[in-house]
């Protein structure tokens, strides 16, 4: 194992989330709210989709030690996901090819049998025994049939287990929809992985890179930006928001001044200014970031840090207002009358009561951050150009729409994957808000 900084932070984040969840399950009220989530079909379905995204990102975060074999270029780290998708991570065609194609997208002039010919050159990746498109279609149909079979078998086995446990084959609508989503996702993952063994599933891009590989790798970047930002934002917002609300007076004034100032600067401009100065810093201190993927990783982490520092203000304001309300309620007054320390009151009485606001803000922010990554990469202040992300894919593929004939697959793949992730998280966030919002009934 040779984890990058962002890997460590991401895994830490997952671990903390697990702890919080296990801790929450011990309490009656939070159990009830989670049950409410499980009763909503939309929440169950979108939660399952999110789970698969999370799984892929986690696999991609487990980086293995670079192999120092002599054929290996620059000792690039490989994640578990890279291993699963190998050799796509190092396989490059010459240039564009359409999804599932056997030949390049453009004609090339070659010398064949002493004659100059204009042909579509054959791709290197598909195995040589797939000669014609009929061969290909037969193989594809076979793979699709087999993966459907596997998924249906899994579904049937799951159904049988559930039926045995519940004593009936009848499923609640939720369970049925949930398992259906689960196995649709499974079908997609199995068949796309299988097909990617033989073809460039989503075609290749300008430098011949496999678009499927790039799209799947981007999931990690998107999720890291969506979650690690939280890691940096949460302590600031929690500590300052609760302190401002609870202590009042000078502390309150200072914290209010701080967040009013920060939130007065238009968000994009503040992020831009910070990222620009961070870029200059990394460019001028090359000795601290020895390899390319280390400096790209440092930039990703710094971007999360900057997004976190620029976006804690709204949560802080909400927490301050809520704490102001809570501290006047009788149970806090009673605790103060018994000379409980401020730290005790905050930990036992205030923190549990503002957790619902925190949770709602976090899930609502997540989809915003995933979308923001693409825009920031376009502006030129996003992740490093070396990092594989949807933003960089869209930015690089933007001009391909002007080509004739049209190269649509790189940009479409990035948009579709981003859309699915954001839609799932938006739907999930909606139900989380319904379940946890104290003012919303």
């Amino acid at each position: 194992m040779d984890l990058l900084w962002t890997d460590q932070c991401f895994l830490l984040m997952l671990f903390v989330a697990m702890l919080v969840l296990v801790n929450a399950l011990r309490k009656e009220t939070s159990r009830n709210r989670l049950k409410f989530l499980f009763r909503k079909p939309l929440a169950v379905c979108s939660g399952i989709v999110l789970f698969f995204f999370l799984l892929i990102a986690t696999l991609d975060c487990l980086h293995l030690k670079p192999v120092a074999a002599d054929g290996d270029l620059s000792g690039n780290r490989m994640s578990v996901l890279d291993k699963l998708l190998a050799p796509l991570d190092k396989f490059y065609e010459k240039t564009y090819s359409a999804p599932m194609a056997l030949t390049l997208f453009g004609k090339e002039t070659v010398l064949k049998d002493g004659q100059v010919q204009q042909i579509y050159p054959r791709l290197n990746y598909p195995p040589a025994w797939i000669k014609t498109t009929e061969d290909r279609d037969k193989l594809v149909m076979g793979i699709l049939r087999d993966s459907l079979l596997i998924s249906v078998l899994c579904l049937a086995a799951f159904g049988a287990v559930m039926a045995r446990r519940r004593g009936t084959w009848r499923m609640s609508k939720n369970l049925a929809l949930g398992s259906l989503t689960f196995f649709t996702c499974l079908l997609f993952i199995i068949s796309s992985w299988w097909l990617s063994r033989y073809f460039h599933l989503f075609g290749t891009g300008k430098i011949g890179q496999d678009i499927f590989y790039y799209t799947v790798k981007s999931i990690r970047t998107g999720l890291i930006i969506g979650t690690l930002t939280t890691l940096f934002m949460l302590p600031l917002a929690l500590i300052l928001g609760i302190a401002a609300g609870y202590f009042g007076g000078v502390v309150d004034d200072m914290i209010q001044y701080l967040y009013t100032t920060l939130s007065s600067i238009p968000g994009v401009l503040l992020i831009t200014a910070s990222v620009l100065s961070m870029q200059t810093f990394i460019a001028n201190h090359p000795e601290q970031f020895s390899t390319l993927d280390k400096s790209a990783d440092a930039r990703l982490l710094a971007l999360c840090l900057i997004l976190g520092v620029t976006s804690w203000t709204s949560l802080c304001r909400l927490l301050r207002a809520e704490t102001l309300k809570l501290r006047e309620i009788d149970f806090v007054l009673a605790a103060r009358a018994q000379a409980c320390s401020a730290w005790y009151i905050i930990r036992r009485h205030l923190l549990p009561n503002v957790m619902s606001i925190v949770l709602i803000t976090l899930v609502l922010d997540f989809s915003f951050l995933v979308l923001a990554e693409a825009v920031l990469s376009y502006v030129g202040v996003g992740v490093s150009p070396m990092t594989i992300s949807w933003g960089n894919m869209i930015n690089g593929a933007r001009l391909e729409l002007a080509r004739e004939p049209l190269v649509w697959w790189p940009i479409a793949a990035a948009f579709v994957f981003m859309f699915v992730l954001v839609l799932a998280s938006n739907l999930f966030a909606d139900t989380v808000r319904d379940a946890f919002d104290p003012h919303h009934n």
């Binding site: 600067i265 238009p266 831009t272 200014a273 200059t280 825009v375 376009y378 030129g380 948009f415 938006n426």
Partner: protein, 325 residues
Amino acid sequence: MMTYILRRILYAIPILFGINLITFALFFMINTPDDMARMQLGQKNIKPEAVVQWKKQHGYDLPLFYNAAKTGTDAVSQTLFFQKSLKLFAFDFGQSDGGRDISFDVSRRMWPSLSIAVPALFLSMLAYIVFAMCLAFFRSTWVDLSGVVLCIILMSISSLFYIIGGQYFFAKILRLVPISGYDGGLDSIKFIALPIFIEVVGGLGAGARWYRTLFLDEMNRDYVKTARAKGLSDSRVMFGHVLKNTLLPILTGVVVIIPSLFMGSLVLESFFGVPGLGSYIIDAIHQQDFAIVRAMVFLGSILYIVGLILTDVSYTWADPRVRLK
């Protein structure tokens, strides 16, 4: 009223000073002017003399806060903080690192920005209100449900998709409008029509969904029940009572962004080649022209604070119950 506004303006000064300090720290203390010069001149093979020369040329060869070489007021005024940061308070933006006068560029470039942002704001307000009213009117029916789902789907699509897709479909396939560019006068309509349309559609999901909750909140009030009990028709209740009262929160949400319209939209303008302030900032970022970015951060913050003050003022105008003291 006047004293209130005056107090708000005075209260804005420490905030602006803080913003000034933040941008100064970002651009001059984390990275020294030497770093900036190296960035501008290229990383490799630069002579120290070239760095000194560049700093002198752009006025970066001063100490940060206190100039020990000078006496009297010059000791404070001949510093980077005074020259580069405090002068922004007097709207003296100085010169960009490329050597152009920033104030001149801003005054010329704000009109194209406004020509897109103002119509886009009004049209999107209209579209959101109409759409949200429809959803609220048919609340808890399939119209409402499918409308909300549509909103969530629209929200989940990247804004870049709206721009790239719109440009491709309307300009390349249908050839209704030019792909990009800008022209003064009436000719500009064909250039700004598509950006405005995209801005309206791109915000429709989030906007309509938010306005719908505002409408629903208002429709649950007692006075609506009273109005219905009096026997008023649905449309009278909707337009006469609910719409009027909902306009209040909508108004306060909108007034705050009105001054910021000057800044235009970063991504939209650069995609459509509109010579506004948004694309000005993007160009500055790509050229690493920190003087422009610094000036724009300050300008944007001022406009936002003006927006906040205007919001409070518009509150008293729209809602007679609110009195500022």
